[in-house]
């Protein structure tokens, strides 16, 4: 009896320790990356870094202002396309259709989610860049939205399906039609989850590099929406793979900026979302 008890306790303790160690590893990875970025990048951070254009090859100093703006522009455009399309596709998946069509849409979304981002880059290059004969922010945004749509659709679907059926029936029983029920009860009840999914999706595409290498490419200067455009991930990639030590420093600094921007956007959005009632389970 006691031996069995002590074995149980040993297993218990072992598993607890294992979970604890893994949790610690997860957290420490984040801090390791952060620390590394700060250590290598912080000394290049100065006001000029944020407002100046990059300097020519091998020169030290200069900034990444155009990359910051370019990233914001590309991600904003991709969000503008990707979130609505993904959201309504998610509503469709959760609420409408028979069996076959939603199955096909869902399966396609999952396949899209699993496609390596570099393949999406090549795809966008083929269908947008080649016919237009030039790289552009628009092409980059399209590539990123192709990634954002399935992420948003699937997470929206999931959170809508989690809304208890009793709420839906409550609205229908009061004489609401289906669309009214979805718009006034189901979506508001799932609001927090849907928006959290959207934020994670946007954060995820903000750091994508491969699709942009084939679509928006890069630029030394300010650029219009229809021109090759610099972005933080591609700039990091360019600086990091260059031969100059100064540029490696800039790559770390740009990485730090990218991470900080994503984090800030994340926190801000979460603060907005956390207002209002949620459905108790």
């Amino acid at each position: 009896m006691t031996s069995r008890n002590s074995r149980r306790n040993a297993v218990n303790n072992l598993m607890l320790t294992l979970c604890g160690v893994c949790a610690f590893l997860t957290v420490s990875t984040l801090f390791l990356i952060l620390g590394y970025l700060v250590y290598h990048g912080a000394k290049s951070l100065n006001p000029n870094f944020f407002v100046q254009l990059p300097l020519g090859e091998g020169q030290s100093g200069g900034g990444i202002a155009n990359s910051i703006l370019g990233s914001a522009e590309i991600v904003a455009l991709a969000t503008l396309i990707g979130l609505p399309v993904g959201f309504f596709a998610g509503v469709y998946l959760a609420e409408f259709g028979g069996k076959t069509l939603p199955f096909i849409v869902r399966y396609t979304a999952d396949l899209l989610n699993g496609i390596p981002s570099i393949v999406i880059g090549i795809f966008a290059w083929t269908v947008v860049v080649v016919p237009m004969h030039h790289f552009s922010a628009l092409a980059g945004a399209l590539a990123l939205s192709v990634m954002l749509i399935p992420i948003t659709a699937r997470s929206t679907e999931q959170f809508l399906l989690d809304v208890p059926r009793s709420l839906r029936e409550g609205a229908l029983a009061l004489g609401a039609n289906k669309w009214r029920t979805i718009a006034t009860v189901i979506v508001p009840a799932a609001r927090k989850g849907i928006m959290t999914g959207m934020i994670l999706g946007v954060a995820r595409i903000s750091g994508e590099t491969a699709p942009l290498l084939f679509t928006s490419l890069s630029n030394q200067y300010w650029s219009g929406i229809n021109e090759p455009t610099a972005s933080l991930p591609v700039t990091i990639f360019n600086y990091a793979t260059s031969a100059y030590e100064d540029w490696h420093q800039l790559a770390w600094a740009a990485g730090l900026v990218l991470l900080a921007l994503v984090l800030l956007a994340n926190i801000a959005a979460r603060m907005v979302i956390s207002r209002g009632a949620s459905v108790p389970r």
Binding site: P164, S166, L167, R168, E169, G170, A171, L172, A173, L174, G175, A176, N177, R180, T184, V185, P188, A189, G276, A277, S278, V279, P280
Partner: protein
């Protein structure tokens, strides 16, 4: 008939005709129920859950539906406002009339406005108490002549909840107790002035005090609408219902005055169930 010249036949007295006429009409009136279900068969996929159920609901009366678990009480009730048709793969046969009109071929949103429903577990929307009440009137366009505040107060008063929540109308509906939430759901249903109120075991998640409040409420509400309540609690049926229907295995075994069902049922199955021999 009265306008055509009376044809006097040897056996008919001229005074008899009008009398018969009135008699007929009054018979029809008392015999016309607020709602009538005729020969309802209902299928979940290939499973037949209701077998030829016919039941009349008299106006301004409380009808209780009792029977063992799984006998089809909820299924039947949920067909009366056509909420069951929102489930996939279901099929109904038969006719359900409201004031003599078949609800199965009318606009479903209007039908559901006229036939309210309260569910087993309180299901307030994740909105404020005020917003919960005003939801139905708003989507049905009933706020043209009345202010929202007026509708909210009246509905909460009818559900005997006003005094308890009047100071926190704009708090979340989840911030009140389960019994209060259930009365909120009743108030929400009453806010659209339904002619019929369907309740599916409305007290099963509540304590005896909250239950008593809702029972009192139902009795007082029947002057304003026709009530159908599913319950497992036979004392509850005896306390609130004018008539009671007993279901077994998807069939309506019998429907009669409540005290007849409980004291002197016509069918052996009913008696067995009432006396606790099965169920």
């Amino acid at each position: 008939m009265g306008t055509s010249p009376a044809r006097i036949t040897p056996n008919a007295s001229p005074t008899k005709m009008p009398t018969t006429h009135t008699e007929n009409q009054s018979q029809v009136q008392t015999a016309t129920p607020k709602m009538r279900a005729s020969n309802i068969n209902f299928y979940y996929g290939s499973f037949k859950a209701l077998h030829d159920v016919s039941l009349d609901f008299a106006a301004n009366k409380v009808t209780a539906l009792i029977g063992p678990s799984g006998c089809g009480k909820s299924t039947f009730l949920r067909n009366l406002n056509r909420i069951n048709e929102t489930l996939r793969d279901t099929r109904i046969e038969g006719e359900i009339t409201l004031d003599g009109e078949n609800i199965l071929d009318k606009d479903v949103t209007e039908i559901r406005r006229r036939i309210g429903m309260v569910f087993q577990r309180p299901n307030p929307f994740p909105k404020s108490i005020f917003e919960n009440i005003i939801y139905g009137p708003r989507i049905n366009g009933l706020l043209k002549n009345r202010s929202a505040a007026e509708v909210v107060e009246q509905s909460l008063r009818r559900a005997a909840l006003w005094d308890e929540v009047k100071d926190k109308l704009h708090d979340s509906a989840y911030a009140i107790s389960g019994g209060q939430q259930q009365r909120l759901c009743i108030a929400r249903a009453l806010a659209v002035d339904p002619e019929v109120l369907l309740l599916d075991e409305p007290c099963s998640a509540l304590d005896p005090i909250a239950t008593a409040k809702i029972e009192d409420l139902l009795v007082s509400l029947k002057h304003q609408c026709t009530i159908v309540i599913v319950t497992h609690n036979m004392q509850q049926a005896a306390r609130v219902a004018d008539t009671t229907g007993f279901f077994l295995l998807g069939k309506l075994i019998e429907h009669d005055k409540t005290d007849v069902i409980f004291k002197n049922p016509a069918k052996k199955e009913t008696e067995d169930y009432i006396t606790g021999r099965f169920g």
